[in-house]
């Protein structure tokens, strides 16, 4: 009986492994957050607010545009339209960052600070990206494709890795 109890205890020992827990929390967090943002109501909300804010920013910097649902139309006679889809909202890089930070073995307060910083930085980075894409798209359709598919995808990768390593360094340094 006693042996059985010991065996049972040992079989769950892997759950105490911090590395295993970190990976488990990261994957679960990623999947759950994605379930949440994949819901139609959340996607529509994100698209709507991204369109509204982007349209306001563009008009603020004297690029005349008009909104129509989740479409942004340029009013310079070029008839160019930009459709805002969930990928344009910057929510997926944010989900990756939150998941990577959630299970990291540091104090809870540091995770909250990291989360806040991640939201702000992703938000700012994404709007800069969208505005620059608009400017590039207005100038050249060919360069818009290149910028959209390569430059900005690459810059999001670099942003995520830099933010994650930067946050880890800060969190580990001040954790002692």
């Amino acid at each position: 009986m006693k042996q059985k109890a010991i065996n049972q205890k040992n079989s769950f020992k892997w759950l105490q492994n911090p590395f295993f827990l970190y990976i488990l929390i990261t994957i679960v967090c990623l999947l759950l957050l994605l379930v949440y943002v994949s819901q139609a109501s959340v996607s529509i909300f994100l698209e709507k607010w991204t369109t509204i804010l982007l349209n306001s920013i563009l008009n603020l910097i004297h690029i005349k545009t008009r909104m129509n649902g989740n479409l942004i139309l340029l009013l310079d006679g070029s008839q160019i339209k930009f459709q805002i889809i969930p990928d344009c909202t910057g929510i997926y890089p944010l989900i990756i960052l939150i998941s990577l930070m959630a299970g990291f073995p540091v104090k809870f307060l540091k995770k909250i600070i990291g989360l806040g910083m991640a939201i702000v930085c992703t938000f700012v980075f994404n709007y800069v990206r969208l505005v620059l894409l608009f400017i590039i798209g207005r100038a050249s359709a060919k360069w818009f494709d290149v910028a959209h598919l390569i430059i900005w995808q690459v810059s999001f990768v670099v942003f995520i890795v830099l933010f994650f390593f930067g946050w880890m360094q800060w969190a580990k340094k001040t954790n002692t």
Binding site: Y22, D87, P93, P105, V146, L149, I150, V157, I160, F165
Partner: protein, 168 residues
């Protein structure tokens, strides 16, 4: 045993050189991306051919016409992300748990796996679109594979396989 572990922990470097790791990541990521761009014409043709064959087997007569895509549209970003992280970690952390040969083999297999995963995602995308499957699960899988996976999977794969010391 506990004492031994404690001793090992005490001789390990207390802080991981994140700054160095970041710099090397940027360097290796740029090199890998450059190499990938040179190889893209070949990889693009291979990807489209593979997608055509697999969808042909799965969909049969219903297979849509899959046209060739511009080279820059077929770049697999996940490959340089993984390669950059792997090489940067090797450079920064000289003491690694498994042999160099085994590591290179594991990393090469991971790169192939990531590329095949991307091919699989495109096949799934074509099937879902062709058969007009509008339910939650296929759309969720596609978002996970194509939008989150291109950046998230290589990072996760690197963390799982190479167990970076900063997580201990």
């Amino acid at each position: 045993m506990g004492k031994k572990n404690k001793h090992i922990r005490s001789i390990q470097p207390k802080s991981f050189p994140f700054r160095k790791m970041t710099l090397f990541f940027l360097l290796y990521f740029s090199i890998s991306l450059g190499l990938l761009m040179i190889m893209t014409p070949f990889l693009s043709v291979a990807k489209v051919t593979l997608v055509r064959v697999i969808t042909g087997v799965i969909l049969g007569d219903k297979t849509p016409y899959i046209h060739n895509i511009p080279y820059f549209k077929s770049i697999s970003i996940s490959l340089p992300v993984f390669t950059g992280l792997y090489l940067a970690y090797r450079k920064v952390n000289k003491v690694l748990p498994i042999s160099s040969k085994k590591q290179h083999l594991t990393a090469t297999l991971c790169v192939v796996f990531l590329w095949l995963l991307e091919v699989g995602s495109h096949v799934l995308e074509i099937i879902v679109t062709k058969l007009s499957i509008g339910s939650f699960l296929p759309n969720y899988s596609l978002t996970l594979l194509l939008s989150v996976g291109s950046i998230g999977f290589p990072i996760l794969l690197w963390l799982i396989l190479f167990h970076p010391s900063f997580l201990d």
